[in-house]
């Protein structure tokens, strides 16, 4: 397929955010949109992720964004005419100390003030939510529980956005790699690819952990580093539990998916930014020893496969969003630091507002500009995996 000579918006990256933005724009009538994807849709972090959707955050801004996104996820299958596999089984967050208990109480109060249905639990209440957990083995002192959290199918969410965008006139070019960006006089003018060039009024950098490299093509410096994150899936079991179980202290998250397999990951305290994608036995052993402490019955459960994806991590674990201050027409949509699936509905809606209306009315993107890295950082504490 021949690339067009020009487009109003060129989106670099066919993950959930690139596809979601193409849909948001086309749905509001801007259909002269092109997605350039070097391989195939979902081949980046999107197709490797846990696709968990959590509204229980420690900062008000993140909680708001996640609540807004869940509202949108709830209507998405119908809106897009394709099942995105949304399952709202809840998130159970385990705490392990008095400090956790104090923080969790504060979080729950803030989250409730924003209208979220969430509760603080004592250890004795944990088995009422997930019977197979061993509260003592986990060393649980408390937990929080939000039944409307959940997960969706990352492949079908992305494919659904992409198909709907295409029906509305957007065009998607797979196996097309962006190799350069022309931005003379501080404004984007052209995107270069291995299959020809496209003139563009707007260029969106939704290239996941390749975003720093894409920004550099336009002479822009953003502090994004790739962190390898491993994840595994077990054989299928009959349905045992619906919630995603996570602990910031142990860095573990796991849930049982629709198809019966248990999928989960665990963070590595010695993780360094790098491009190593090799699956490690070190990960499997860490995961197995923590998970069997949480659920002793899982001793007999067999691991089927493991894989690695990359987080696009910024210094404060918050995304970089909005028009670049130095190159006009260049939109940042990256740095999601491991939670870019769950907030994609509100992120892509806000970016489309900015492109169409000149300002985002549903999200304060100023706070998420790259300029914040010059000053003091306010790091999001509730990051896992």
């Amino acid at each position: 397929m021949q690339l067009p000579e020009k487009a109003e918006v060129v989106i670099i990256g066919g993950g959930v955010n690139g596809a979601g933005l193409a849909y948001s724009l086309a749905n509001r009538g801007l259909s002269d949109v092109v997605i350039l994807e070097k391989n195939y849709l979902t081949c980046g972090a999107t197709g490797r992720c846990g696709a968990g959707i959590r509204q229980q955050w420690s900062t008000e801004a993140n909680t708001r964004m996640a609540i807004e996104s869940v509202k949108m996820f709830e209507g998405l299958s119908e809106e897009l005419g394709h099942d995105i596999g949304l399952r709202q089984g809840g998130y159970l967050i385990i705490g392990h100390s008095d400090a956790d208990a104090a923080q969790f109480k504060k979080n729950v109060a803030m989250q409730k003030s924003l209208g979220l249905g969430v509760s603080y639990l004592d250890p004795s209440e944990i088995n009422g939510i997930v019977p197979i957990l061993d509260a003592e083995g986990m060393g649980a002192t408390c937990a929080t529980w939000c039944p409307t959290d959940g997960h969706a199918d990352p492949f079908h969410t992305t494919f659904a956005y992409a198909k709907a965008a295409e029906r509305l006139g957007a065009r998607i070019y797979r196996r097309t790699t962006v190799t350069g960006i022309d931005a003379p006089d501080g404004a984007v003018s052209k995107v270069r690819t291995d299959r020809g060039d496209i003139k563009a009024r707007w260029v969106v950098n939704a290239a996941g952990c390749n975003s720093a490299e894409i920004a550099a093509m336009a002479g822009i410096d953003i502090p994004i580093k790739p962190y390898p994150k491993e994840i595994f899936a077990t054989e299928r079991l009959k349905p045992l539990f619906k919630p995603m179980v996570i602990s910031f202290h142990d860095g573990i998250y796991f849930s049982q998916q629709e198809h019966g397999q248990v999928v989960g990951g665990i963070s590595d305290p010695e993780a360094k930014p790098q491009w190593r994608a090799m699956p490690s036995l070190r990960f499997l052993k860490r995961m197995a020893s923590t998970l069997t402490r949480y659920v002793p019955d899982f001793r007999h459960l067999k691991v089927l496969r493991q894989w690695t994806g990359f987080y696009d991590v910024t210094p404060d674990a918050q995304p970089i969003l909005g028009e670049d201050e130095d190159v006009s027409g260049f939109m940042q949509c990256n740095g999601f630091s491991g939670h870019g699936f769950m907030i994609s509905p509100s992120v892509t809606k806000a970016l489309s507002e900015y492109i169409l209306d000149g300002r985002a009315s549903t999200l304060d993107m100023k706070a998420l500009s790259k300029k914040r890295f010059v000053g003091e950082l306010d790091r999001e504490a509730s990051v896992v995996g």
Partner: protein, 107 residues
């Protein structure tokens, strides 16, 4: 019709583990999911208990018929370790910090 598929009424099953039929594969290819990696993600083909050992060859054959590409162009999906299912209990034995064998020698 492929003689390798096992009949289930009119439904010829290509991926037994994930219950995907030949018609579903063909429909997905016609919708544009025309590489083995995309079919895997769209239909879950090859993600089942046998990890594609049974179905990958059949999918490759359908792709060849429908797209005219040869086997090399179609390629295979990345094989994910472990090569054989291993229990969490066995992996947990010895604790998380046991030395040795940090990385597999697989892709």
């Amino acid at each position: 019709m492929s003689r390798e598929g096992c009949g289930d009424g009119d439904r010829v099953i290509i991926c037994r583990c994930e219950d995907v039929s030949r018609d579903e594969v063909i429909e997905a290819i016609e919708q544009g999911y025309d590489t083995i990696e995309e079919l895997k993600r769209y239909l879950r083909i090859g993600m089942g208990t046998c990890q594609g050992r049974t179905c990958q060859r059949l999918v490759t054959q359908i792709l060849r018929e429908k797209t005219g590409r040869n086997i090399e162009e179609i390629g295979t999906t990345v094989t994910r370790p472990p090569a054989n299912a291993v229990s969490l209990g066995a992996l947990a034995a010895g604790g998380p910090t046991e030395e040795g064998g940090d990385e597999y020698a697989t892709p």
